[in-house]
Amino acid sequence: MAKRAFLTLIVVLLLFLGILPVLSMLVKSLVVQGNFSLASYGSVLTSGRQWTLMWHSAALSSMVTLLTLVIGTPLGILLAESDMPFRRFFTILFVIPLLLPPYFMAVSWFDLLGRQGLLAQIAGPVATRITSDLLFGLPGCVLVLFSVFLPIPMLLTMVFLGTINPRLQEAGRLVSDWKGILKSITVPLILPGIMLSAMLVFILAFGEFSVPNFLRYDVFPVESFTQFSAFYDFKAATAAAVPLVVVTLLLMFAESVFLRENTYQIRPSQEAVHSPRIELGSHLKWLLSLVTALAFIIVIVPVLVLAVQSAHTEAYIQALDYAGKSLLRSLAYAFIAATLLVSLGFFTGYLVQKKALWCWRFVDSSLLFLFALPSTVIGIGLISLWNTRWTNFVYATPAIIIIGYLAKYTALTSRISVTGLAQVPPSMEEAAQVAGAGWFRRIFYILIPLAGPTLLAGWLVGYIFSLRDTGITMLVYPPGHETLPVRIFTLMANGSPQLVAALCILMIAAILVPGGLLAALATRMKYKVNS
């Protein structure tokens, strides 16, 4: 009984935090002076501008999806299965851009290729004119978002490869070389993972606003944000956000139809030493050069540029002076949000994994929907719900930021909890039940310790995603409560490049140092549990 009541409470909380704001936004946009009306949509749907926006959004997200998939999937296979050296190192390196606020990469490329960039000092203004024109527009956006989202197909490929029963590949090795196995066995088996990553990248690229905004490429999220922040036109902002809701829903529908059909029974392999390695042989040299070159172009060079640009002590003194408080706030909010995210994620994950309430599928889909929904939409929704005289105690405090993070990122911690819980045999909980332990006791003494390493990983993911969030925070932060990514974003327009670069480097350190420590800790915990 305690279990049902508590889980119901969690569902209500979820509705309240995430779904209600979006509904409230939709309803408000349909009511004009007390009457139902489509007036807000009138201008939106008739103007030619909408078609431009639609075209831009579609072009950007499809190109980014295609590119990340075509390169990320083979990269994942290479890093997971081949005998290429430095695989771990490359994996970590390629993941870095995903961990940072996406526009950092844009800032860095601007510092390199922009009119006053580093390249201009070397190659002269004519060359940079061309590069700068390319950067500001579709090619620049594709490049930046490609580097940011490449880790998604790469990591998902690696994860799915890990779940393939290695016997299936060994059965292939008896008759075929690795190319044949790859083509006919491995890739078809990880196809659901590839599809999933395609959908994720498309959705994230579609909803991304900070990069196109900085590189002045007009897409829906930018339009929606501009309407809201520059013109204070709430209704137009909402109307521009609705196509985003529709596209998100369509994609989720496609996913449910397509992916459910194509998921084979895959099970986690438990072997310590597993999976046949692909022996690259004579291919090793050029593949290794290619991977190294890619790492240089999309990770090492951008980070180096920021480091070089910021290499003045004054820049860092000024940075701490300008934004030291924002940095502390960022860390504090991310810490609180991660803790709440992992708690909420654990219980929704439990609900979904055990199918504990009839509405488990709804909960799972809602979370995914909120994650897929562009940040600007969630931000506008939250404002529409909480910006009233009676709810100022939330709206005027950092609580609204935390609520935004919970709405958007619980999907991540929830999915991670599902994976963690799936690895705990049901008999463990049942044994405790037979021994007379109530539900809360079973949760705290059996499940949480057993799922411990996974929960730590969930915390880490929640922490990083809260820390790097720009879209939601930008819209909802109360005056005087801005976080570091927002502070940097607003400084970009008029701050010196040195200062901005220094702030970016500080932020990178704030993300990577605790991230690295915790990841190491989680690995060690996992090792202990397994041995």
């Binding site: 029963n165 016997r167 299936l168 060994e170 059965a171 292939g172 090795r173 008896l174 008759v175 075929s176 070389d177 044949g180 006919s184 066995i185 078809p188 088996l189 084979y264 029974q265 310590a272 030493v273 046949p276």
Partner: protein, 220 residues
């Protein structure tokens, strides 16, 4: 000439010695059954012969040719002429029965008409012709077993490795398939290395039984 020969082969996983200086010769056409308790190293022997892992020390030869020695795999699995039925069968779930059998034929470069004929003959032999277009998940345990056999045998391997192939089936079916396996063996004349921990199954199938204990051949 021995068709499979292990010469003083050892294999460790970390500190754990899975095989300790095993020597073993198998004659053409024999049905050798390796019998032993769980964890004694039976699967490890199979994987050494198949070429998935190299021995830490010692020599593995097939048909008089050294295929791996002292930590090195010299001949990769696909060139050893070895077929294998895995304990969990490892039928490819995304392929039809036909495609499962065809995969190896394609890899070996057989033309389409040839492949068709070989697949039909093989399926006929295991009595599964009418199931050609099903997916493995649409077959019963015993049927899957036959397909796994067909897949392993279609390339006419010199050696067939079978790692507890019947252990997941109920006793009735288990006994029926033992007969089937012997029938196929008599008809096709391959050499068979068969692993089980069931003494009855071993005596039924074997022309020779080898008992193992803790990584060694038990001579007592």
């Amino acid at each position: 000439m021995k068709i499979v020969e292990l010469d003083s082969v050892s294999k460790s996983y970390g500190n754990e010695r899975a095989l300790d200086k095993i020597s073993l010769g198998i004659e053409q056409g024999e049905r050798i059954v390796i019998l032993g308790p769980s964890g004694c190293g039976k699967t490890t022997i199979m994987r050494l012969v198949a070429g998935f892992i190299p021995p830490d020390s010692g020599i593995v030869s097939i048909a008089g040719k050294i295929v791996s020695r002292d930590g090195k795999i010299i001949v990769p699995p696909r060139k050893r002429g070895v077929g294998m039925v895995f304990q969990d069968l490892a039928l490819w779930p995304h392929m039809s029965v036909k495609a499962n059998i065809e995969f190896g034929l394609k890899a070996k470069g057989f033309g389409k008409p040839e492949r068709q004929k070989m697949i039909r003959d093989m399926l006929e032999l295991v009595g599964m012709l009418e199931y050609m277009d099903r997916k493995p998940a649409e077959l019963s345990g015993g049927q899957q077993q036959r397909i796994a056999l067909a897949r392993a045998l279609v390339l006419e391997p010199k050696v067939l490795l079978m790692d507890e192939p019947l252990s997941s089936l109920d006793l009735d079916l288990n006994i029926r398939l033992r007969k089937e396996i012997i029938r196929l063996h008599d008809k096709l004349g391959f050499t068979m290395l068969y692993v089980t921990h069931d003494r009855d199954e071993a005596t039924d199938i074997a022309t020779r039984i080898i008992t193992m204990k803790q990584g060694r051949i038990d001579l007592s």
